[in-house]
Symmetry: C2
Subunit: 209 residues, 2 copies
Amino acid sequence: MRISALAATAGLPVATVKFYLREGLLHPGLASSATQASYDESHVRRLRLIRALTGAVGLSVQQARTILDLVDEPGDDLYATLGRAVSALPPAAAEPAGDEASADDPYPRARHALETLGQVYDPRFAAVAQLESALEAAESAGLPLSHDRLLAYGRSLREIAAYDLERMPQGAREAVEYTVLGTALYEPVLLALRRLAHQDIAARRELAG
Amino acid sequence: MRISALAATAGLPVATVKFYLREGLLHPGLASSATQASYDESHVRRLRLIRALTGAVGLSVQQARTILDLVDEPGDDLYATLGRAVSALPPAAAEPAGDEASADDPYPRARHALETLGQVYDPRFAAVAQLESALEAAESAGLPLSHDRLLAYGRSLREIAAYDLERMPQGAREAVEYTVLGTALYEPVLLALRRLAHQDIAARRELAG
């Protein structure tokens, strides 16, 4: 198809598609003449990915490029690639701070929580800093996460995470795409479902009481 | 204590505490002379709540006021009050849109998902619009939430929600505070824990494989 048909299929202005081509986010079409190129399903798919990253996921073009580069060149160490790709997603990791943090132990709350759950603690992974900030915020609001709550949340989220990983596609490129989009796009679904489950349980009690 | 000691205890500038007093977010102290007032633990507690709402939760002063008003006057229908308080939290509900939405059925994806889960569907509740947007975003990125995934996520999040509600304090004011802060402040904890569970499961496979 021509660029105009590609743009229409992807639901984007032609100028935007040309911009992605110039920036190298979208691979060139097959030249069909000196001034025209032909595009296929791989371009439609790529545009859908770019649109998701810069739209729903909320990345800048530069941040999207980091992830697209990992999709294009997943390398041999898929585990490290997936870690880097997820670390490129929002929220951006905050600087380690807090009274109890030190250069030796920048994420004491997250480290303790992960040790309690018996999980890998790898401070290079952005979600560790994210957990530290979240635990610190809850603590300073007077609602520290109790040991018991950590275990309850940890157990349920592990079920979700296991479900996610069981369904990861085989190919490396597909695995990176699935991990990035599945992490980012299902997060708002999870939060909405928790709030709606609160509402449902409360409504049943209300009716019962 | 005097206002300077109150500010120091709360970790806020005196000017900020005076601003909250003027705005009526913080209740006045007990007048101890024509120009001085005395503050107690209730003021420290209130400032911690205001700070959490306008800081970690990210509300504007006006949005925080909506929630503080519900804490102060929870009324007789606690269920409705909790619903209003949670609906005042981010993310702000998007306008119903999407091809399949209509005035009669503005949230078709969310309605279908809640019916599948056997949960209450009440479109006045903001999380319904939030779920609709989240499902729509996943769908247009080519990663629609499957029936099976919905059931898996729904089951695990219901466990979390049941845990949350079992621990809700008895008093109405305390219940509103707990619900608002517990909803908002534990959400980033939940998302970080999911990402870290992915990492942990993937790391174990890597080691095993």
